[in-house]
């Protein structure tokens, strides 16, 4: 008996399942981040989030399906070993892409925070309109 078909079916199921699961996690958690960044502009935040998740889907599914080129394996053990090897490569790649994604979210948020941050040190003195001087060192 040959195990080529078995590898393809199991692999496709796991790849699609993992991608969908990760994308949903990313979508839910990302929404919170982006809502904060876009300062209540809920529609824009959702649009950006959706675009990111679509990109995530395409990249992951495309790569995942591209990765698999199974030869028919002779024994059940070979088939499972091959399958596990492919899934490991897929998972590591998904993990890397996911962390890059989280980094992008963090970066967007960090930029927005920087833009509105007040000066790092308090002023030494405050000049009133009538040129009288307040405070001092």
């Amino acid at each position: 008996m040959e195990y080529g078909i078995f590898i393809y079916v199991v692999y496709a199921a796991v790849a699609v399942g993992m991608t969908a699961l990760l994308a949903r996690t990313l979508f839910r958690a990302g929404a919170v981040f982006l809502d904060d960044v876009f300062d209540g502009n809920h529609r824009l935040a959702e649009a950006v989030n959706r675009l990111l998740v679509v990109g995530f889907y395409m990249l992951n599914l495309g790569y995942g399906l591209f990765l698999l080129r199974a030869e028919p394996q002779e024994t059940a053990f070979d088939a499972v070993a091959y399958l596990v090897n492919r899934l490991a490569i897929l998972l590591v790649t998904l993990g890397v892409i996911h962390f890059v994604n989280v980094f992008v979210f963090w970066r967007i948020r960090h930029r927005a925070e920087m833009k509105t941050a007040p000066p790092p040190v308090a002023p030494q003195m405050i000049i009133k309109d009538d040129l009288s001087v307040e405070g001092g060192r």
């Binding site: 833009k115 000066p119 790092p120 040190v121 002023p123 003195m125 405050i126 000049i127």
Partner: protein
């Protein structure tokens, strides 16, 4: 804050170099750089005892930063180095940054020889 005014010492080559550099930087807040000896500075900041002696930064709301604080505030205004202004005002780096700025600032008239600035006296200066 909608504008930040930096008052620098126009008699020192390092300060003029720093001003030129700052003018090339993209900023979050519009910057205005004026010489400490200029009539504009004298008119607007005559109440400040540090004028011409220390770097001064002032915003349009009347807040005034002096010395190392002015240096950090100028850095904060730039797009590229705002992150550094926070890092340098943090617990660990603040003492280092402050002493560095004070060291450079106190000896600022001596650094000119290391720059390619032959102009000892500023030709366009008021006094």
């Amino acid at each position: 804050m909608t504008r930040l005014t930096i008052v620098y010492d126009e008699h020192c080559a390092v300060c003029r170099r720093a001003r030129d550099w700052l003018l090339t930087q993209p900023t979050y807040v519009p910057l205005e750089l004026i010489a400490a000896g200029s009539p504009a500075a004298m008119g607007r900041f005559k109440g400040l005892p540090w004028l011409g002696k220390e770097l001064v930064a002032a915003d349009d709301e009347g807040n005034v930063w002096v010395g190392p604080a002015a240096f950090l505030t100028a850095l904060w205004a730039t797009r590229r180095y705002r992150g550094w202004s926070f890092r340098m005002s943090g617990e660990r780096l603040a003492p280092l940054a402050e002493s560095f700025f004070k060291m450079v600032s106190a000896r600022r008239h001596r650094w000119a020889r290391f720059l390619d600035d032959e102009e000892d006296e500023c030709s366009w200066c008021q006094n």
